[in-house]
Symmetry: C2
Subunit: 383 residues, 2 copies
């Protein structure tokens, strides 16, 4: 799964009244040393496509929403990198957070700006900037169904059809079909569940009622802010206050005054879980390849051949594997530099200019421990 489906004549088409929101945050610490606070995961090309995850996200969403209705929310420190990566991004659609306030504030701000600009019936879809999707057409179909479902007043998620009993993802449980015009696949959601153990995951998948929670939410701007106002009125009011000033000279002044006081909470806890408990969430199954590329083991799974040889992210000619399998990220930036791996199964080698990581797929989840250890040694420059 390394490139989008680009079969001719099957391009995704514009969805009326739909706006895409891309929250681009998180350092992706488990993908250290490639992903850093200053160069987070979404700015890297992790599939060898020639496009960063952020750019691939743009490429996937822009045909559905149009550039005018594609909003990106990120930290101020990433502004220059994002502008350089996305020359089509409208200046007013780059929502720069003065500080990290978790996903509810990020997505809620975009919803409030949309509501202010387009009215409460505008439907937004929020999609992470650093996930990998392998079939843009199927993705577009799912978004169109989700938008249709959102027009009934539901909070809609796109749940990924599992390809196996993954224990590293949360799940969405459905309990029966809905009857929504334009959304034949939509189902009612019973609950969101946390990452299971392997046996539980196998049961989930066998039941047919569970899909991976990919953190994709599609909802009317007014509906979202209405739910938010019920749960956290101060947060909803603050976001609407900022939004009202967004397209004016007062943007920065209001932002700096209000933002620091906003509560930090994930949209899952603020909206998805309580609204699901009240019966207000729907799921549209997504039958496309998806991965959040959470760690080096996930990336090895995505890259062709990593189970039988050393797969390379970067220049293939620079890497030699003998009696080895796994993944080499050739990212030193030094022309002609080579990496040789001999006799190490499931190896992970990540070569960056200032930090080299050598581990195995099995230990991918523990990479965070290295980041912490380097920080303790005073090497904040590496993380």
């Amino acid at each position: 799964m390394t490139s989008a489906d680009t079969r001719p004549g099957r391009a995704a088409s514009r969805i009326d009244g739909f706006a895409a929101v891309v929250p681009a945050g998180g350092a992706g610490t488990r993908l250290w040393p490639l992903s850093r606070a200053g160069a987070p995961k979404f700015l890297h090309d992790l599939t060898g496509s020639g496009r960063s995850l952020l750019q691939a996200t743009w490429d996937r969403l822009e045909p559905l929403s149009g550039a005018e209705h594609l909003l990106l929310v990120t930290g101020r420190s990433h502004a220059d990198a994002v502008r350089a990566a996305l020359p089509g991004l409208r200046a007013g659609n780059l929502l720069l957070e003065p500080s990290a306030r978790d996903s509810m504030a990020a997505i809620g701000l975009a919803a409030a700006v949309l509501e202010h600009r387009e009215g409460p019936d505008a439907v937004l879809g929020s999609f992470a900037a650093d996930h990998v999707i392998d079939d843009d057409e199927a993705f577009g179909d799912a978004v169109a169904q989700a938008v249709a479902t959102a027009r009934t007043g539901a909070v809609v998620t796109i749940g990924i059809t599992p390809t196996g009993p993954a224990a590293q993802f949360g799940y969405v449980r459905s309990d029966g079909p809905l009857s929504v015009p334009g959304a034949p696949d939509a189902l009612r959601v019973a609950e969101f569940v946390e990452k299971p153990d392997a046996a539980t995951a196998a049961g989930y998948v066998a039941s047919g009622d569970y899909r991976w929670n990919a953190g994709m939410f599609v909802v009317g701007a007014g509906v979202l802010l209405g739910h938010l106002h019920e749960q956290l009125p101060t947060l909803a009011d603050g976001l609407r206050e900022i939004a009202a000033a967004w397209d004016s000279d007062g943007r920065e002044r209001v932002l700096d005054a209000v933002w620091p006081g906003l509560v930090k909470i994930a949209i899952d806890h603020a909206i998805a879980e309580p609204v699901a408990a009240a019966g207000g969430v729907a799921v549209v199954p997504g039958a496309f390849g998806w991965d959040d590329v959470g760690d080096w083991d996930s990336l090895a799974t995505l890259l062709p051949g990593a189970a039988s040889r050393v797969a390379v992210l970067g220049d293939d000619d620079a890497v030699l594997g003998l009696a080895a399998t796994g993944l080499v990220v050739a990212g030193s930036g030094v022309p002609g530099r080579t990496v040789s791996v001999l006799g190490v199964p499931d190896v992970v080698v990540v070569d960056t200019p200032d930090a080299l990581l050598v581990t195995t797929r099995e230990h991918a989840q523990s990479v965070k421990g290295l980041v912490g250890a380097w920080r303790e040694r005073g090497r904040d420059d590496l993380v």
Copy 2:
């Protein structure tokens, strides 16, 4: 075993009539990518002492022979590097080979030069430029006994007292004591034997009659050339012809005329084995730590702590190991660059500017295969 014994008052002392010969050859391919054709093993500091193996060899021998009687034989391409490493080396004692002609020609040339300068009774001791020895005093004692034994007309080797049943070394079998004034430990040699299998090696060590063949030969110049003349008269004559011109204007002319025709043979086959069969070889046991550092596994054995943690050759602060053991060579030359190893037992990581190697101690013997594979890819610049 990383530094010489430097206890005060026990310095090794000059041995009258003794000349040291250091053949510095071989690319050390199994220590790739640190060791290369252009920067062979002897030019590297493999113990973290701050001195290359060549410099440590000089430091060990110069007190025994004096600089005037320390001869170094190496390829012309290494002349500048050797001169820079050994400022005390006399110009006339740097014997530059126009091409590689194996150890007999190299050591034989030094013997012939010595014979011409000092007469046939001069005793020479030949010691590799790229071995590690941890007790210069015990080494000096063994050399002194070997010189005394050589004065009886014997070809003498210093055989290392085994610390275990090593299968990677050849052995010297003794069959009884000699009575040599000044050499109380000298023994008669029955034979040299090739690298054994593990079970055979265990039997050798248990018998007490076997010592490691470290390739150290101590012998009178006239005795050596006499044996050589018996076995390979043309080679002996050629070396004496070059030696006669060595300290004259004709050196280069004679060298270029004669050297290309010299036979390629190791001193072991040309002298040591046939003379041992005739009863003419003696061994002085060497009770000091010794290793030929043949591959990365050997080096890991030499470095303190590699069995329980990640030992570092280079800057300790640049390396972080979690749940890992083995060896990291931090030799990128990039200031501040770091190496992190997570969850790999017995790892070997060798980071050089243009080539990174990741393997395990178990695969150390197969590193040559990588060198061959890079050559096949046309990357002669790496090897």
